[in-house]
Every structure is written in C-alpha cells, then in structure tokens.
C-alpha cells in the first residue's frame, strides 16, 4: 500500500514540476489578490467628494466649511451658487455629499436659536453614505464644541448642564481600528479555499477525462490510496498558501501575529481537510473540467459571502445563518482572526476547530463514497 501511495505522490510532483507555469499559476495570483484585498478592501471612507452651498456667507458658516475641508474625509469639489447646482452635482455623481448652509445660520447661532444645517447624501452606496454621515455628525459636534468655546451659545446646551458623561472608546486587539487587520487574515482563508477546492476538483476530473482514472482503477490500487495520493499534494500546496499569505500580510502590511503558529497550523490543517473534501465531492459530480469549473464557481461564491469575511453573519436571515454552519470558511475565519489579532488558543477556539474537523471528516467520507459510485 505504501508503495502505491508513494508512486502516486511521485507522479503528482513530477507532473507539477514538468508544468513550467504551475508555480507561477499557484503563487502570483495569490500574492496579487492579497495585495488588492489589502489595499482595496476597506470600509474606511476617505476623500468623499462634497459640494457646498453656503447661502449665509458668514464667519460662522465659513468656519464650519473649513472644518469639513480640513478633516481629510471630505474633499470639497465645488462651492455651488444655487440649489440647482447642488442637485446637479449629486445627480451627475460629481459629489456624494452636499452641505447646504441656509441664510441666517450665523444670526440664529448668535441668538442661541437652533441653526439648521442641511446635509444630503447620495445613498446609492448605502454603506459609504452611512459612514460619511457618521463623520458629518462628528464634525458638526466638534464645531458645536468650538462654537461654545468662542462664546456662541449653542442651542440645547444650557450653562447648567453639569452632568457630563464622557464616553471613552478603547477598541481592543485592533487599537487603530484598521480594516486591513480585519481583512488580510480573512483573505488567507478565502484564497486558500478557492485555490484548493478548484485544484483538487480539476485534477481528479482531468484524470477522468484523460482516461488515466479508469486505467488506475483496473490496477490493484484502492480508492482511498488514489484519493490520498491526489489530496496530499494539494494539502501541502494549501499549507504553503497559508504560510505565504501570512508572511506577506505580516511583512508587507504589518499585520500583527500575536497568537501561536501551532494553533494556526492545526486550524489550517482541519480547514484544508474540509476544502479537499469539498473539491473531491465536486469532482465526483462533474464529468468534464468545464462542469467542475462551473460547479466550483457556483459553490465558492456563496461560501465566500456567507463566511463572515465582510458581511456579519448575525445580520443574515436565519436560513442563510444555518447555511453558514456547514461552511468551513466561517470557522476558519474565526480561528485565523483570533490567532492573528487576539492570540487566543485552543481553550477558546476548540468549538470552531471541532466544527471544521467534523465538516472535513464528513465531506471526505461522503466524497470517498461518491467516488466509488462514480467509477461505474
């Protein structure tokens, strides 16, 4: 049995070595995607194109506008003269946020009356709009505070309001609330899943297409020896993926890695079992590489979206939340983020590790069963 497994592995690595572009195909897309994700995948909203309509033209209104200009979150792209110009700027997409300061703003402020300020936001991208609105509130609040300091009475604030409850924000694990720290570890799991599932599925289906699968099956090799020979190389490639992107994230993006590499290795191994099982399962459902490719496309996207990579699972409808329970990526993201940023160990992560182990064992068992059947 060891001889047969050994020769399967020798064959796999010979084929890989003969394929000049294999290494390029395996590594380059991985690094490029990690780079793209690292720079592009962020919730932070910066340089929001803003149009301003200042109908008051007072010192107070100019101060408020300068607060927006100085902040860096907003780029004032146009000082509009009319309401129509504002609408046009939003319609054409030249501006995402419009600040309209009505006439009498300063006077009302000086009298201690409510001084209205209109903010319009292009809600097409609800996420950006919401975050931009949050910044607007912050800036306006700071303006109010300054206005008070300058002696302008601010509506709603009375001199006797003594009970001040200062809120101190102190984010743990990611003190800077840097999105990259959140995304890069997630990228490791996602890219590894995509690569390992498709490599495994395509490799097995290719043997079926070329006819080597049938040829091997008339030899005394047992199905599990064939499956082991086919999966061990991809397991190693998957581990290589994890190490590569981890090192890249730490060195290039400066993501801290505070946890134990051993926990990471354990989590990655269990995750890879599940990914290999999934790839094999796909290979038993597909007769041709094209079918395998289509199936892979059909499966990997939901796995990605329903993993908690970007969209919180708690906010999903219950049916989709149940689906996430059979998604190995969901558990791996928990493990990998915890290991990277929190540094917690098996004592905390065991439920997720257990879930991945169970999923991996289940999928591998199912695929071995289906594999036997698919030979007929």
């Amino acid at each position: 049995m060891f001889e047969r497994l050994h020769v399967m592995l020798v064959k796999e690595f010979l084929e890989l070595r003969r394929d000049r572009w294999a290494m390029v195909r395996l590594i380059v897309p991985l690094l490029i995607q990690a780079l793209v994700f690292g720079y592009a995948a962020t919730f932070t909203v910066n340089h929001v194109a803003t149009v301003v309509l200042d109908l008051d033209r007072s010192q107070a209104s100019r101060t408020l506008v300068s607060h927006f200009a100085a902040n860096g979150r907003f780029d004032i792209v146009e000082m509009a003269a009319t309401q129509q110009a504002v609408t046009h700027a939003i319609d054409t997409g030249r501006a995402v946020v419009a600040i309209v300061i009505h006439a009498g703003f300063a006077a009302k402020l000086a009298n201690g009356r409510s001084a209205p300020l209109a903010i319009a936001v292009d809600g097409t991208n609800s996420n950006t709009a919401l975050i931009a609105l949050g910044y607007v509130s912050l800036i306006v609040a700071r303006f109010e505070a300054e206005a008070m300091a300058h002696g302008w009475p601010v509506p709603g604030e009375t001199a006797s309001s003594g009970a001040d409850v200062p809120l101190q924000e102190r984010p743990w694990f990611n003190q800077g609330l840097d999105d990259r720290w959140f995304f890069i570890p997630g990228v490791i799991g996602t890219l590894t899943l995509i690569q390992v599932v498709s490599l495994t599925a395509l490799a097995v289906v290719r043997e079926r297409e070329v006819g080597t699968l049938e040829q091997i099956m008339v030899s005394p090799i047992r199905p599990f020896e064939f499956i082991l020979g086919k999966t061990v190389p991809f397991f190693l490639i998957g581990l290589g993926d994890v190490v590569l992107v981890t090192v890249f994230g730490v060195l290039w993006f400066g993501i801290p890695f505070v946890g134990s590499p051993l926990v990471m290795l354990l989590g990655s191994s269990l995750f890879l079992l599940a990914a290999l099982g999934l790839g094999l399962l796909l290979s038993t459902l597909a007769r041709t590489q094209q079918q395998a490719f289509a199936l892979n496309f059909f499966l990997v996207n939901p796995f990605f979206i329903l993993s908690g990579f970007a969209f919180p699972i708690a906010a999903m409808p219950p049916v989709l939340q149940w689906f996430t329970l059979i998604n190995p990526l969901r558990y791996f993201l928990v493990v990998i983020r915890a290991v990277f940023l929190k540094g917690v160990g098996i004592d905390v992560l065991w439920p997720d590790l257990l879930a991945m182990g169970a999923l991996g064992a289940g999928m591998l068992a199912l695929s071995v069963l289906r594999f036997r059947k698919s030979l007929d």
Binding site: R4, E15, T212, V218, D376
Partner: protein, 305 residues
C-alpha cells in the same frame, strides 16, 4: 476465462443482454459488432470495473463479480484510449504502472526493455508521452498494460487510429503473448484484424449472434458469393438491386460482392441483367467470402436471426 448470463442496463438502455462466452488460454478471441453493440460494456464488466446487473464471470478461477480486487492482478484492461500521463516520460509511465501492480524492480527492468524493444520504442524512453505519435502512444499503452505479465488481456479497439507499421508491431506482440498462453480478448473494427483472431463473436444489440472460428463463420454464411468486376462498379451496384435470388450486395472498390442463393444458376442471370442495362460486366466469378461479407450477411439488414 468464461462469462455466463451477463446483463447490464444503463437507465432504459439494455446495453448487454445475456452474454455467454468462454475464452481458452492461448486464444485470441475477437468481439466484432457495430458501434453500440455492447463491446466496451462487456470488456469493462470482464475487467471488474463495471458491475453486471446479472451474470457470472470467472477468470483463472477467480469470481470477478464477487471479488474484483483478486482478479485485477491477473488481468490487464486496455480501453480504446489508454490513459497515459502526458507530462511523464515513457519510462516514468511504465514505472508508474509497474509500481501500481507491485512489479519488483529487476522484473520491471527486464520486462520493460523486452516490451519496449518489441514495440520499437526503446529509443524513446526519455521522451514525454505527450510528444509521441498516436500509434506510439497506443503501443506504450500496451507496454504499460503488459508490464505486470497478466494472464488475461482485454483490449478494446486497441489499434483504432494506429498506423499500419505500429499495427504490425502491435500484432507481433499479441502473437508472442499467445505463444506464452496468455488469454486475449479484443474488440476490433478492422476486418483484417478480425481474420487474425482464433475465434470471433459477432455482436449485435447487446447479444452474441454468432460465435465461431473465422473459417467456420465464412462457411456458415448463407448463400454463395459472386464478385462482379466492372468498369463502373457503382452503376452495377445500383442496377443489381432487386435482382432475383439476391441475398446481399456489397460495393468493394472496383467490384461488387453479390450474395445469391445459388451461384451456378444466378451468375448468367446477373450477366444478362447487367447487359440489359448497358453495363458490360468484365467478369462474374464465385469468390471466397471475406469476414466483412460474413459480417454484413449475418448482422446486416434482413440477416437471419
């Protein structure tokens, strides 16, 4: 090797219905039949990779249906396209298949040298399998299939698309194996190859219609065969359709093979018929049927059941 009562359905299609066959050691047994007659299905069941719905298969005393794993080391199955790893060299492919069958290294070296020489592939040992010609690939497939010295060899249309020179090498190897007592069962679409088999089974719609030696199959052909040689064989072929006493017509290049109930009586009648149509027959003479004539006579339209 023998099989009894083999049945196999694929969904609604009954691919094989009630096949009985027995092949002795040292015999080259040919399966001949039109596409879809069930040749590949029979081969795959004999090889133990496809379970029959019903029936029994014994191979050197091993029950293939119940215990395919025990049968596998004894046999070799070569599908229409042998699965070679195109990114591996000739020698690496042989090494791979030899190791799967646990062939000891010294045996492997001796055997592969001998087989490669017979196949005319010795000079190509280090070439990638993907860079071999079609005929060389097929011969390499045979070398891989024979590396573990099987007692039974199952070949599914092994020489389809193979050049004449490679086919001759191929048959040279098969005759050598027969001398050593290997049981060979092959399917073929080439009638000249069918003639070389010790026995033939004519297959139609998943059943064996006739099974005998090529000579006796020819003798069993109903009617007698006349060769009509004319300058315009195509016109003669058209003119002869519907002639009295006609059992079959087959256009063969510059001649028409006419199968009739009685050669002595019909030959002058045919000559008269052609002359009446203005087609001068150069020659009408009885001929020995080739296996192709037998095949058409026995399996073609209007053939006896």
């Amino acid at each position: 090797m023998w099989a009894r009562g083999l049945h196999r359905r694929f969904g609604a299609v009954a691919a094989v219905q009630g096949i009985d066959l027995a092949v002795r050691r040292g015999e080259i047994f040919g399966l001949v039949g039109p596409d879809g007659a069930g040749k590949t299905t029979i081969m795959r069941m004999l090889a133990g990779v496809l379970r029959p719905d019903a029936g029994e298969i014994r191979l050197e005393g091993v029950d293939v249906v119940a215990d395919p794993e025990r049968a596998k080391p004894l046999l070799s199955y070569m599908p229409q396209r042998f699965g070679l790893y195109e990114d591996l060299t000739v020698a690496e492919n042989i090494y791979f298949y030899a190791t799967l069958f646990a062939v000891p290294a010294p045996v492997r070296r001796a055997r592969s040298a001998e087989l490669l020489a017979a196949a005319g592939l010795l000079a190509f040992r280090r070439r990638l399998a993907g860079q071999l010609s079609g005929g060389m690939k097929q011969k390499l497939g045979l070398v891989c299939a024979l590396i573990h010295t099987p007692l039974v060899l199952l070949l599914d249309e092994p020489t389809t698309g193979v050049d004449p020179v490679s086919r001759r090498d191929f048959w040279g190897i098969l005759y050598g194996l027969r001398e050593r007592g290997v049981t060979i069962l092959l399917s073929t679409a080439y009638m000249d190859e069918a003639e070389r088999c010790s026995r033939l089974a004519l297959l139609h719609a998943g059943a064996i219609r006739h099974c005998d030696t090529p000579a006796r199959l020819k003798a069993a052909m109903p009617g007698a065969l006349l060769a009509v040689v004319t300058p315009d064989a195509r016109a003669a072929h058209a003119a002869l359709a519907g002639a009295p006493g006609l059992l079959g017509l087959l256009l063969m290049g510059d001649r028409v093979h006419v199968r009739v109930d009685d050669a002595a009586r019909r030959a002058p009648e045919l000559r008269a018929l052609l002359a009446g149509q203005g087609i001068g027959a150069a020659d009408i003479a009885p001929v020995e049927p080739a296996i192709e004539d037998v095949f058409v006579a026995l399996l073609g339209p209007g053939s006896p059941p």
